[in-house]
């Protein structure tokens, strides 16, 4: 072939459907006889339901049923495993967070169901809620993703006490809600004891197993379809309460039910990034060499469930630090259960650690980039394992050169443009890559065209475009001759599309299957027989893969302008360079990095879920008050891909690229704000009130 297929910036195969509005997301589907369900959510954050008066709602036009704890089908709301979540399925009267489902209105039309939901009168016995991180009951979780909640290497206390220079600061990140543009939606249809579900999910098999446990039926009796998913960023990874509620409503109504979660309800029961309070201690020699790092994290969890934001991963696994200590403490609050959000752990942890590194650079008078280079680690500092690949040095060099970092005046508040203060800052990006078992079926027909089937999903990452590229590269055929079928539980099992593991998991399974198909092809003199070939295999990471630590890396450089009178911050330039291993498609990969950086800018300047301390209710549960960046808030962002194979990571040679962009980017902005103003903001977001003193 004349052109390399892998890595080529091919246009998305589903692009025409997306630009013409022809492809269907979950809520776009219509099933004959379908009715509509609308969730009634609690208006208190702590207490119990004293009484529900649904009489007015029940007699409203078009209403089929009002489902309350009194008449809801009995189901099992418990978790199926440690990673699952306790659900709120109208099985009792306890209320433990704002916007917890307390009833469901079912009616012929969406308008009628919405109106009926508003007529449901709920009386509560209210107890005072706790939503401030400092006020919750504190405890050490039993484990964090299989590791202890406290961990040490070397002698951190001694090393810290003896260090020439020490720094200890507290950094805070707020509660943030994912807010993909598509809200959650579920359509449920019972046919006898068989259940068909359309759901906006990152994992059709997770929904299948959760519903099987909830209803006590065989998973094989449940078919889950995820049409195109309109963004997720982690909130569609869990099966949340509305999914079984839709199926319960369908059972009660005896009709298929569509349940669309509203935007204000997206702040209810579908997860969020937990707020954190992180104390980072750095002990260093005068030359900047780190002797000790401590990282103690307090994060929020819900009253009856546990989620730990693993912020410590960033400080634990990046710099060459011989002495290290971390701890993760949880605070129980009247909030819904937090969950994974783009770059869980490293996104929040990098803000703390990379802000602290910036502070240390000024304390020592060492250039921030130089300080990182002096602490560069050739191996994973915690496990001692070699990295599967690490091109972070190249990332620093390429991004710094593109940004013009060497021309920067290191003095704070030294640069202005008109009346604006100008500053620049940098930070390191790092994010672990994972790989899970994945099954694919690959068929080559007599005409040489190939069908690849795998039950993963498309949430904007480019699934139906990039995996055919990977197969085509190995089979030495044009990528347009490979079709990828995805998005339902009839297909071979795929892991959850999350955790920077899809390229490594689905991609590797496609590679292994394509290699086997290629062998078959060679043994048949390059021509498939009349009935074609079929390969189906489950690919799992072999034990030797654990001999290496696999992380994606990057370097962020940001320039900001700060209005000295108004305290407003604008990011005026941003350059990011990334080591994501082998790049499967330069166009979709670059876009992942752009999006990730903008999430970091958003984390630095905008996103902040606010709780009213007295009522425990969220005060900004909508997109007019929960701010995400608009087009006008964002400058041109330059992305540099430092591509290269990673033979030890996985057969695809790819590291995760969906999350590394947000890791470190908020710190780069905060560090630039310090350089511009001399004001160090340690609690996000950086709003004007914090800069006007």
């Amino acid at each position: 072939m004349s052109q390399p297929v892998l890595g080529a910036p091919l246009d998305r195969v589903e692009g025409p459907g997306k630009v013409t509005g022809r492809i269907a997301y979950t809520a776009d589907n219509d099933i004959p006889g379908m009715v509509h369900a609308v969730v009634v959510e609690s208006t208190i954050a702590n207490g119990r339901i004293a009484a529900i008066d649904e009489s007015a709602a029940r007699s409203a036009p078009g209403v089929i049923a009002i489902m309350t704890p009194r008449n809801a089908p009995r189901v099992d709301a418990r978790k199926v495993d440690a990673n699952d979540s306790l659900l709120f399925l109208l099985q009792g009267d306890a209320v433990e967070f704002d916007r917890q489902p307390v009833a469901v209105a079912i009616a012929e039309t969406f308008e009628q169901a919405t109106y009926a939901a508003r007529l449901v009168r709920v009386r509560y016995d209210v107890r005072p809620p706790t939503t401030a991180l400092a006020s919750g009951e504190r405890f050490l979780p039993d484990q964090i993703f299989g590791k202890p909640a406290q961990h040490k290497r070397g002698m951190p206390e001694d090393a810290f006490a003896r260090a020439a220079v020490t720094l200890k600061q507290t950094y805070r990140t707020p509660t943030e809600h994912h807010n993909p543009m598509e809200t959650h939606a579920t359509i449920a249809q019972w046919t006898g004891d068989r259940l068909t579900i359309y759901d906006a999910t990152q994992w059709v098999f997770g929904v299948q197993h959760r519903l099987a446990a909830t209803f006590g039926i065989d998973p094989k009796a449940i078919r889950v379809v995820a049409p195109f998913v309109g963004g997720a960023f982690g909130c569609k990874g869990q099966t949340w309460s509305h999914v079984p509620l839709a199926a319960m409503a369908a059972r009660l109504a005896g009709r298929p039910v569509k349940l669309v979660v509203t935007r204000p309800q997206m702040f209810g029961w579908v997860g969020h990034r937990p707020q954190t309070e992180q104390v980072v201690g750095l002990g260093a020699a005068r030359d900047g060499t780190l002797a000790a790092v401590t990282h103690d994290v307090l994060s929020e969890t819900s009253m009856s469930d546990e989620f730990v934001e693993p912020s410590v991963v960033f400080s634990r696994d990046l710099y060459a630090v011989p002495n290290y200590a971390m701890s993760d403490t949880l605070s129980r609050l009247n909030i819904s259960k937090p969950t994974y959000q783009r770059g869980p752990g490293e996104s929040t942890g990098s803000f703390a650690m990379e802000s602290a590194m910036d502070e240390l650079s000024y304390a020592l008078g060492i250039d921030p980039l130089e300080l990182r280079l002096r602490n560069y680690s050739a191996n994973d500092p915690d496990s001692g394992k070699p990295y599967s690949s690490k091109r972070l040095r190249e990332c620093y060099a390429a991004a710094a050169a593109q940004f013009g970092w060497s021309a920067r005046n290191p003095k704070v508040r030294s640069t202005s443009r008109g009346r604006m203060l100008v500053g620049s800052g940098m930070a390191t990006a790092s994010r672990a890559t994972h790989r899970s078992p994945c099954t694919v079926r690959m068929r080559m027909n007599a005409d040489g065209n190939v069908l690849v089937q795998c039950g993963t999903i498309e949430q904007g990452t480019g699934t139906p475009t990039v995996y055919p590229q990977l197969a085509a590269e190995i089979l030495e055929i044009p990528p347009e001759r490979v079709r990828f079928e995805f998005g339902n539980t009839d297909l071979p099992a795929a892991p959850i599309a999350a955790g920077s593991q899809t390229s490594g998991s689905v991609g590797s399974a496609v590679v292994v299957a394509a290699r086997r198909m290629r062998e078959l092809l060679v043994s048949h003199d390059g021509k498939p027989p009349a009935d074609g070939f079929e390969v189906e295999l489950e690919d799992s990471p072999p034990p030797e893969e654990a001999e290496h630590a696999t992380q994606a890396f990057g370097a962020h450089f940001a320039e900001v302008e700060v209005d000295p009178d108004l305290g407003t911050v604008r990011v005026t330039r941003f350059v990011g360079a990334f080591d994501g291993g082998r790049i499967l498609n330069a166009k979709t990969a670059r876009s992942q990095m752009l999006g990730g950086i903008v999430w970091g800018i958003s984390m630095a300047l905008f996103e902040d879920t606010r709780y009213d301390a007295r009522s425990g209710r969220i005060m900004n549960a909508n997109l007019s008050e929960y701010l995400v960046p608009t087009n006008a808030d964002i400058p041109d962002v330059e992305v540099i891909l430092i591509a290269g194979d990673d033979p030890f990571a996985n057969p695809a040679g790819a590291k995760g690229i969906g999350e590394v962009g947000i890791c470190g980017s908020a710190a780069a902005v905060a560090n630039a704000v310090y350089h511009a103003t001399g004001i160090r903001i340690r609690d996000l977001p950086i709003t004007p009130d914090k800069l006007i003193r």
């Binding site: 669309v260 876009s591 087009n631």
Partner: protein, 171 residues
Amino acid sequence: METVNIEVNGRSYSNEVEPRLLLVHYLRDTLGLTGTHVGCDTSSCGACTVLLDGISVKSCTVFAAQAGGHAVTTIEGIGNSGALHPMQEAFWAKHGLQCGFCTPGMIVSCIDLLRRNPDPSDAEIRAGIEGNLCRCTGYENIVRAVRAAAAAMKADEPRRSVAELLPVGAS
């Protein structure tokens, strides 16, 4: 109930609707035109943007009854796979989309932006479509797409079909 007569994508419709029915739900649920999406409830996100007599509106802010006697154009009426609007082609080619959920409303807004300002600067593009949120792309490729579409429309390039734009042999 109230009778509305609305022209949508060049076709005339007459329906009995509740006065409270929003235009977006009329388009989606009554007419089955699901390319127009619902993203917020507060007219913040722009996913539901359509043209009303050629001017962009957020269809969650308009009652179906208010659109009576007017002409509505949804993404389905902008262009189809047989003849893509230059803006649709540009969003595809310049990767002005990822998950695609904001894309129909975004494209409609961008078309209205070019109606008002056929040759916008990058800053004018960014300010001109700030009422349409995208959570995936980081916006830059959307700006590139608008620039490309503006150039194509200025040159009066003919509409192309998806088949013409695909590599040879693609199915």
